[in-house]
């Protein structure tokens, strides 16, 4: 149980006290690529809003149009549109036009799996 203290220089000023240099190195080595980590975070963040989550869960059952969704979660149609735009950008939802109305649906089965997996986590305590 020896603890080795290593001071690492970073940039110009050294202020960092780093206990386990080996672990830090290993962490860097196994870390996700920065870009991938960023995209992953964006994905989770997208699912991390109550209203967006409600939308996704609802679309998991059947496709709905913007004003249905607005009515469902109780916000402006504009608000829903903004959210859907974001979800679309992440390939979480897709739409289909029928006349003037756009029907939105889930674009990816992973979404349901992600939600259900997370639910397991919640319910296990």
């Amino acid at each position: 149980m020896k603890k080795e203290r290593t001071v690492i220089l970073q940039g110009e000023q050294c202020r960092c006290r780093c206990i386990h240099r080996d672990r830090v190195d290993a962490a860097h080595e196994h870390a996700l690529a920065s870009r991938e980590n960023e995209k992953l975070a964006t994905l989770f963040k997208a699912m991390g809003d109550p209203n967006r989550l409600r939308i996704l869960w609802a679309l998991n059952r059947e496709e709905m149009c913007v004003c249905d969704l607005a009515q469902f979660i109780g916000v402006t149609e504009s608000a829903v549109s903004h959210q859907l735009r974001q979800l679309r950008g992440l390939h979480l939802v897709a739409n289909r036009r029928e006349g003037p109305v756009l029907y939105y649906r889930l674009d990816d089965d992973h979404v349901r799996d992600l939600i259900e997996l997370a639910l397991e986590h919640l319910r296990e305590e």
Copy 2:
């Protein structure tokens, strides 16, 4: 393909044009309980920050202490501590004290599964 237009009164003012009342009702019926939806969103949001995600992914490999993590992701130890507090509150990480240093580890295997599932989504496009 008939489209039925239904206007629904909500509260005092009616401004909502709702196309498929049945779908809205069904959505409400199958929706997650409000409280559960909220907690779920909080969970995803917690994973929706690049630095927290880096922390979780690193801890998935081996336990690390606060200053290791600070060094690893390049922020203040204070910042890491704040994040860990949040993750601990959600039962995503747990710690173990050894003298003055706290070793953090993942508290739940679901976390790894969630990340890997989300990675699948990313890599499929």
